[in-house]
Amino acid sequence: MAEEAKFKCLRCMSEFCLPYTPGVTEERTCPNCMSNSVRRLKEKKE
């Protein structure tokens, strides 16, 4: 099972979870506006 990570669409600014495998580049699409400008939100270190 691939892990999930939080992503943010840089067009409509919505946030959502998508499958994510570290080190693997994948084509991603925003489920809200269909943009491919989808950026992974990195967890901020405490």
């Binding site: 840089l10 067009r11 600014m13 580049t25 994948e26 084509e27 506006c33 943009s35 491919n36 400008s37 950026r39 992974r40």
Partner: protein, 619 residues
């Protein structure tokens, strides 16, 4: 097959596996492992004496397990070379004291239990991939009861049953009682055109295979009733509609609908098919003696290995992807590599033969010339700037670059293998690679010119030649409206778009930059588009660190067929542009002012001279 075996210019390496392919068009070295056969091919006359004495029996793969073979056997009657092979894992003669019967009986002393695999290197100019496909295994489709009910068989098994060279010598029988069936049902699209199990695509050959099977049955056994359950019959080839009509005239009944369930009558072993009546509604039950599942095909399980060996591309369905669907339908993206047959997509014999002829002609054309012309867009290393870090070697999808990182000698590009994606140039941290016709200076000059006046009103977009730029063309020819302030810079691949181009555009006052390329599955440079994505992800981080909103750099994958998407994206990006304030643009210009400073004199001079030389060479 026999002709191929006899041809003076063809060396046939049967029972062998390609283990490595090195080099490039015109200069491939293929390493082949000739597997140990344990039988001397030159001496063996396939007399069959060994078969008579071999005590081991195993399921015959060629007969789909409907018959048995011995541990020493000929894979199938027409096999070339016409010689036996010994399966050493099944053979007892591994230990001659235990058996060794074939060794004793063979007059020609062909058997050698100590035979070893042999590796050979073959130098070739071109490679044609004809690795074929695999047939879908319908066991997972529980509703059809394959392997649970013996009288449910696949079309491949049926093929052996009706074949005069098969285990029943062509007599069609049920497997449970060995009697001739009275009714046979065919179920179409098993493992094809399904989103749930099997494959979503049409396997292309199954409809006509069933039509052929119906005609075969009706020719030999006119009394057998045939029912074909289908979604729609795809009889689109030359003469195919005729055959389809003939099978109907001969009595085959075609029923629209795929059975949802099959049940076996435990006494008669007959099969009850429950299927929706698409005309009258409700569910019908059809009782038949035998069911043939018309199974689809899929890409070979070992396609990954072949893909890596030859740096090939694959489409979403798993089959190998041609360089261009219309203009280069038998060429791989890697120069000098071609496809024929089902390795590229499911197809019938006629199409396979046509494609094989085309692939042979394409390969021949290259080899007759004795030289290749490469497009004048390849990469060039500037040795003085190269630090031999080896990054470009990892980046190049075509393995066109070599670099001895230990000896610290500058990288070398094999131009014949380079396709000109430009990913290496964009990734080289030392600016040591320039692209002919797409030099840094040329692209930077375009950025500067486009943003010279009223930069705040422009949307600067980088578009790859094959997909996004063509998508833009399509939007234009279809009259899809998009904002007129879009300024496009064409590169061969989005992988060419260097980080410094994006930063330069922002430093020149661009409110928004769009980077667009092919969808991952369509990338014309195998996987160069992955580098684009990685670079953009890093750029978003970098922009954010500099206090620039990352959303000002947009990323979109637009195919050549997506004119509509191109227009939609451009409108959306224009909306984003309108939200960028003049203050923001000014802040960005200041934050990135360093980007516009000329590079160090020595490096700049070197690069300029090399780029000019490259431009001249290209011209």
């Amino acid at each position: 097959m026999a002709d191929v075996g006899r041809h003076p210019n063809i060396e046939l390496l049967a029972y062998s596996e390609v283990e490595n392919v090195a080099g490039y068009v015109g200069n491939f070295t293929v390493t082949v492992r000739k597997k140990a056969r344990y039988v001397d091919v030159k001496e063996c006359t396939a007399c069959g004496d060994c078969i008579d004495v071999c005590p081991v029996t195993a399921p015959d793969e060629f007969e789909e397990g409907l018959a048995t073979r011995k541990a020493i056997y000929q894979p199938f009657p027409q096999a070339v070379p016409s010689a036996f092979v010994l399966n050493i894992d099944e053979c007892l003669g591994n230990n001659p004291i235990a058996c060794g019967k074939c060794l004793e009986v063979c007059d020609k002393d062909c058997i050698d239990y100590d035979d070893k695999d042999e590796h050979v290197d073959i130098d070739v100019g071109t490679v044609i991939v004809t690795t074929g496909m695999e047939v879908y295994d319908p066991t997972e489709l529980d509703e059809f009861g394959y392997t649970r009910y013996e009288n449910v068989i696949t079309s491949m098994e049926f093929e052996r049953l009706i074949n005069s060279g098969g285990p029943t010598e062509g007599h069609l029988i049920r497997l449970t009682d060995h009697k001739q069936p009275k009714t046979v049902a065919f179920i179409q699209c098993v493992g094809s055109r399904s989103e749930n199990k099997g494959n979503p695509y049409c396997s292309n050959i199954c409809c006509m295979n069933t039509v052929k099977d119906c005609l075969l049955i009706k020719d030999h056994y006119p009394e057998i009733d045939i029912k074909v359950f289908y979604i729609d019959i795809r009889a689109f080839g030359k003469g195919f509609e005729d055959l389809f009509q003939r099978s109907k005239e001969k009595g085959a009944i075609y029923i629209r609908g795929i059975p949802g369930e099959i049940e076996e009558d435990p006494e008669t072993r007959n099969l009850k098919l429950y299927v929706e009546n698409t005309t009258a509604g409700g569910t019908d039950c059809h009782e038949v003696d035998m069911v043939v599942l018309s199974v689809g095909v899929h890409a070979r399980a070992d396609s990954d290995a072949i893909q890596k060996l030859l740096t090939l591309q694959r489409s979403q369905d798993g089959f190998f992807l041609e360089a261009h669907p219309k203009l280069k339908p038998v060429d791989a993206a890697t120069q000098g590599v071609f496809f024929a047959g089902c390795a590229e997509s499911p197809k019938d014999i006629k199409d396979s033969v046509t494609q094989a002829g085309a692939a042979a002609a394409r390969a021949n054309r290259l080899m007759m010339q004795g030289k290749v012309s490469v497009e004048a867009i390849t990469s060039t290393i500037i040795p003085d700037l190269c630090k031999a870090c080896g990054i470009c070697v990892k980046v190049c999808p075509y393995n066109a670059i070599s670099c001895d990182t230990k000896a610290k000698t500058p990288a070398v590009v094999v131009e014949a293998a380079c396709s000109g994606c430009g990913a290496c140039s964009a990734e080289c941290p030392f600016g040591a690679i320039t692209m002919k016709h797409f030099t840094d200076r040329q692209i930077e000059a375009q950025i500067d010119a486009m943003l010279e006046y009223n930069s705040q009103d422009k949307v600067l977009a980088f578009a790859c030649n094959w997909c996004s730029y063509s998508g833009g063309d399509l939007a234009g020819t279809n009259r899809f409206q998009y904002p007129p302030n879009t300024r496009l810079i064409r590169t061969m691949c989005s992988g060419r778009v260097d980080k410094k181009f994006v930063l330069r555009a922002f430093a020149r006052g661009a409110p928004i930059v769009l980077l667009s390329g092919c969808h991952f599955a369509d990338c014309h440079y195998i996987n160069a588009v992955h580098w684009t994505q990685r670079r953009v992800e890093k750029l978003w981080d970098e922009l954010e660190k500099k206090g620039i909103r990352p959303e000002r750099l947009q990323l979109e994958w637009i195919s050549a067929a997506e004119g509509q998407k191109f227009a939609t994206v451009m409108r959306a990006v224009e909306d984003l542009r309108q939200k960028v304030t003049p203050e923001e643009i000014e802040h960005t210009k200041k934050a990135l002012a360093g980007v516009l400073e000329p590079p160090k004199p020595k490096a700049a001079a070197k690069k300029a001279t090399e780029e000019e030389a490259a431009a001249q060479a290209a011209a």
